[in-house]
Symmetry: C2
């Protein structure tokens, strides 16, 4: 900030008015106090509408307007107030559905006059907690998390310090301020039923979190449903992105014993399967049926359009932001706000009956 200082010194030698537009001297609360003839404390209260007479409040607001006063978020934060910044911690920004979620959450936060400090675990569950802590250190007012890692003790500690709202999976053992839960179990079951109903028996599930959280709903559900439906179902861990899944998919499908259907626990992964199929000259759904998870806006534009389980980002974002706002406003631990979202399977042309194969 040396640069800043130098400019100030220069400016002090000239007419103060010429400062305007050069370096904008932020109006401080003290100046507002002086201007209104009140004390800084009174002004502070007035601005927040706390324990003030209506008359004073109006007077202060007018003065603030006139002088272009805006509270300094940093000073406010240091003094124990709110930062108006929310941490948004996602499992993988490389995933398109997640990107859409970020947009949606961002949008909701803007409406609530909040900013988003975005952190990306980049598919590495181990990085998740570290990033969360970093966000806490930045004094965010709250945390929106799309968990990919297992619930660890660290989360409980963090949830005790500030409001945490999860989207998607839960953080078992943690009592967050809110959770928007996707019923992944049911989602997987529905998808497998759909494939099973089409006649598929050999199915591979491509999942992005299998090694690190063996109890994650989706995988357990896959195993259970598969057993119930009498399917030969294998769950394979997979990178959480188009580019990451393509090579894996290519390897998986370049094999006469390949599955007749692939259920991808993210549309991004499904896109990788599309790419692999193009590479291998396999047709969808003729050679392989493909289903996704999340239903990204682009999925319906692919050829063939991708069958996918809808997880509405707008709804999730709105709900999560609302939960978080409430929790921040409550300023203390409350009962966990909870919303369970039901999966809706959007059946499109990427899933059809399996073609009989020789061998």
């Amino acid at each position: 900030m040396n640069r800043f200082t130098i400019i100030c010194i220069t400016a002090c030698r000239v007419n103060p008015d010429s400062l305007r537009g050069i370096v904008k001297h932020r109006t401080t609360i003290r100046e507002l106090a002086e201007y209104t003839g009140l004390s800084p404390a009174a002004v502070s209260y007035a601005l927040r509408g706390k324990q003030v007479s209506a008359a004073t409040e109006r007077r202060v607001r007018e003065a603030a307007e006139k002088l272009g006063y805006e509270a300094d978020p940093i000073a406010r934060a240091l003094a124990g107030g709110a930062t108006a910044v929310v941490g948004l911690l996602v499992g993988s920004l490389a995933d398109f559905w997640t990107q859409e979620l970020v947009r949606a959450v961002q949008r909701e936060l803007y409406g609530a006059e909040l900013s988003a400090l975005v952190a990306d675990a980049d598919g590495e569950p181990a990085r998740e907690l570290e990033l969360a802590q970093r966000l806490v250190d930045q004094r965010v007012d709250g945390l929106v998390v799309v968990p990919i890692g297992p619930a660890s003790g660290g989360w409980a500690s963090i949830a005790r310090q500030l409001p945490v709202v999860t989207i998607g999976d839960e953080l078992p053992g943690v009592a967050p301020a809110g959770e928007v839960v996707f019923d992944n179990e049911l989602g997987v079951e529905q998808a497998l039923q759909h494939l099973s109903g089409l006649g598929h028996r050999r199915i591979t599930v491509l999942s992005w979190a299998v090694e690190t959280s063996p109890e994650r709903d989706a995988e357990r559900a896959a195993a259970l449903s598969a057993a119930a439906l009498g399917l030969d179902c294998r769950v394979v861990p997979c990178a959480y992105s188009l580019n990451g899944s393509q090579p894996l998919a290519a390897e998986l499908l370049d094999d006469p014993g390949r599955p007749t259907a692939v259920l991808c626990l993210s549309d991004s992964i499904a896109y990788g399967v599309y790419a692999a199929c193009a590479e291998l000259g396999l047709s969808i759904p003729g050679d392989v049926a493909v289903a996704g998870f999340g239903d990204h806006p682009i999925s319906r534009l692919l050829a063939p359009p991708l069958t996918s389980t809808v997880w509405d980002v707008e709804q999730a974002a709105e709900c999560a932001t609302s939960f978080l706002s409430q929790a921040i406003a409550a300023d203390g631990p409350q009962a966990t706000l909870r919303e369970v979202v039901a999966p809706v399977l959007a059946v499109r042309a990427s899933t059809g009956p399996p073609t009989p194969r020789r061998g």
Copy 2:
């Protein structure tokens, strides 16, 4: 923060050691000073390796490690230090290419130990400066901007206060710390040449910023190139997203006098055109040739694969972050770092010769 206080009071009655893991009392610089027998000032300097003897520095670092000291970013910011937070201001998070850019920038920043405060102008140029100012108020160390609005005086003022790096278009009249410039002019020219070479004469350019910044390179280039190539070329403003462009595209194409080719200044817009074509039963490129801008990873997966002008997000992100890091480290105005990225046209199946029409 009442919750915090209450817990503290409770805890004070019990053994302080039991505090660990319940509420972590941040170690302050003063405690570190006390512990090491130094003054807060000395510790502050030592931690930043400024004007300290090696011995002291080591001693302080060890103590910091031991007590788990981490500087409070808020306090640091208020005192004029760095926040390690960078503002990332994008024109529209609804645009998929932009989403990818956010991912890439985010990733680069993580490598540089920086966090990203993401702001989305949501396609509204007017919102851009307001958001930028908000980021400045949050004391970000620097700003990465993907400009959509016209360069206004406000930008010059901001650029004087902190390092600003632009990606994509420039901010004329502003001397930013760095700029990663896409040669949109050439990009548009190449695309139009390609379409012209295929035999198209009636072309519509769908652009996302036409009303607000009439001097934007891309549009001017479109007009110039079109004139040079003898094209009947119309530039139409369009929402910066799939969902936004679809209705417009539908309207545009549901007309016998429709263009034979559409050049979209963003792949997201092109996706909307695809959707509109599907809706109207038009074939690509048979009925309409479509070209995009940006080359999103999904574009090659569409049917037909989308012809697009490649703007590499990884490169842009790396370059921008590098510029910004340098500028932040320099801590003062330097010459503008500049990188001009050349467009590469990826020709795919979405563009072909026009089909002769009756009428």
